[in-house]
């Protein structure tokens, strides 16, 4: 089972690396959305400081959403998803492996890039660890919740709008705690409370969503 888990992950990562343009797009989107704020709001450093944490989190959420479209779509179309469903290993684990790989190629790069954006918003250097930690604790929940929506909409055309409608309400708690914690980090307060909450949401998502994703994939294929 563990072997199958890592094999699926390895395949996902190999495919992702070979289609690096798909990989880069959410990242570029993340950066562009963040750079739009200074252009739209103006160069008042006070205001940018205030909206920075929230803007980074909204951009991270939208970038994740953008990348989720293809999580199961390609596999659905080329028949790989059928093969996973018919595999002797539990579907729940195989799909979790796919989701983990998805986080590694989209969520993790967002986390890695975020310090640059923290500085771009003129927030203090001391805010960087806090913002990075909130994204690190929160983005897994986004990928996991997203996998349920992506599985439900895998077989539909024009699914991206529906996916956004399904997912955005579910991700609101993550956004609230994430942005609040990032904000507290920027103003030098302790972020332990909201960070625990984010980690809790991610753990809850890790334990519950794989089953929902597996069920949704079966429904999509029926």
């Amino acid at each position: 089972m563990i072997r199958a888990f890592f094999m699926v992950m390895r395949r996902e990562l190999t495919v992702a690396v070979r289609r690096w343009s798909d990989l880069v797009m959410p990242l570029v989107f993340f950066i562009i959305v963040c750079t739009l704020f200074p252009l739209a709001v103006g160069q008042d450093i006070e205001i940018l400081n205030d909206i920075g944490p929230g803007a980074i989190w909204v951009a991270a959420l939208l970038a994740t959403l953008l990348s989720l479209n293809t999580l199961f779509r390609d596999d659905f179309e080329d028949g790989s998803l059928e093969q996973l469903v018919l595999d002797k290993e539990p579907l729940t684990f195989l799909l979790l492996a796919k989701t983990v790989a998805h986080w590694l190629v989209t969520g993790l790069p967002l986390v890695v890039l975020s310090p640059v954006l923290v500085l771009a918003f003129g927030m203090p250097v001391t805010a960087i660890p806090g913002v990075v930690l909130t994204l690190l604790a929160g983005t897994p929940a986004l990928s996991l919740l997203g996998s349920v929506g992506a599985a439900l909409t895998a077989g539909l055309r024009q699914a991206s709008g529906l996916l956004a409608l399904l997912l955005l309400p579910l991700t609101i708690p993550v956004l609230i705690f994430g942005a609040r914690a990032a904000d507290m980090a920027a103003s030098g307060e302790s972020i332990v409370g909201p960070l625990y909450m984010l980690g809790g949401i991610s753990m809850l998502a890790l334990t519950l969503t794989p089953f929902a994703t597996a069920a949704a994939v079966r429904v999509s294929l029926d």
């Binding site: 094999m7 699926v8 080329d78 018919l86 290993e89």
Partner: protein, 211 residues
């Protein structure tokens, strides 16, 4: 190898697609060493039947038994013994044939001699190219290589001969008969002659809708 007991059975199946009834009252069984070929006009529910029998789709009514146990309760055992190739080949276009086959083999926990299979299917020359660069026939061969190398007892194939050339069809026929002679089970939908030894083959002719 004790294969005598492998058995797939279905009772009173009714197949629906959307709000149309495709087939109803289907009964049948498949035992070790037997082949069942599903025939019928386009749109009569061949693919739906095939997908239902391997558990991808739910039948509207009726039940499917593997080893005498309903398949939704016996999934691990069914899946451990099943190799399926549907309309879509189940290959990742960015990976080579070798990588695709290796992935399938590791998931099955099985090491097969890829080279022999690739040679038999005349895929050796293009085994390291991404499968998206292969022709439709070559991709079909790669998908069949996955089934042939799976070591599974039950092969369920949806139109395996599509896009294959004459030599490929003949070679596949030989492999089918070999599989059956070892006590394997074979279920396929096909428009062409199935190449299977007539003694081992049952043909299920599905009537067209409105017929």
């Amino acid at each position: 190898m004790d294969t005598a007991s492998y058995r797939l059975e279905w009772r009173e199946l009714a197949l629906w697609r959307g709000d149309r009834c495709l087939q109803s009252g289907l009964n049948g069984q498949l035992e070790a060493g037997q082949a069942l070929t599903v025939r019928g006009p386009n749109g009569c529910g061949k693919t739906t039947l095939i997908r239902t029998l391997c558990g991808l789709s739910q039948p509207e009514t009726g039940e499917i038994l593997w080893q005498g146990i309903a398949i939704h309760r016996n999934r691990p055992d069914l899946h451990a013994n099943l190799a399926y190739a549907g309309h879509s080949n189940g290959l990742k276009g960015d990976l080579s044939t070798r990588e695709n086959l290796r992935f399938a083999a590791v998931l099955r926990g099985r090491h097969t001699n890829q080279n022999e299979l690739l040679h038999g299917l005349r895929l050796t020359d293009c085994a390291d190219l991404p499968t998206r660069n292969l022709s439709a026939g070559q991709r079909r061969r790669a998908a069949l290589a996955r089934v042939l190398g799976s070591g599974a007892q039950l092969w369920i194939l949806d139109e395996p001969f599509t896009n294959l050339d004459a030599a490929g069809i003949e070679w596949l026929g030989i492999r089918f008969n070999h599989h059956l002679s070892l006590g394997g089970l074979l279920l396929m939908a096909a428009h062409q002659a199935s190449q299977v030894d007539p003694d081992r083959e049952t043909v299920l002719d599905l009537p067209g809708i409105n017929a």
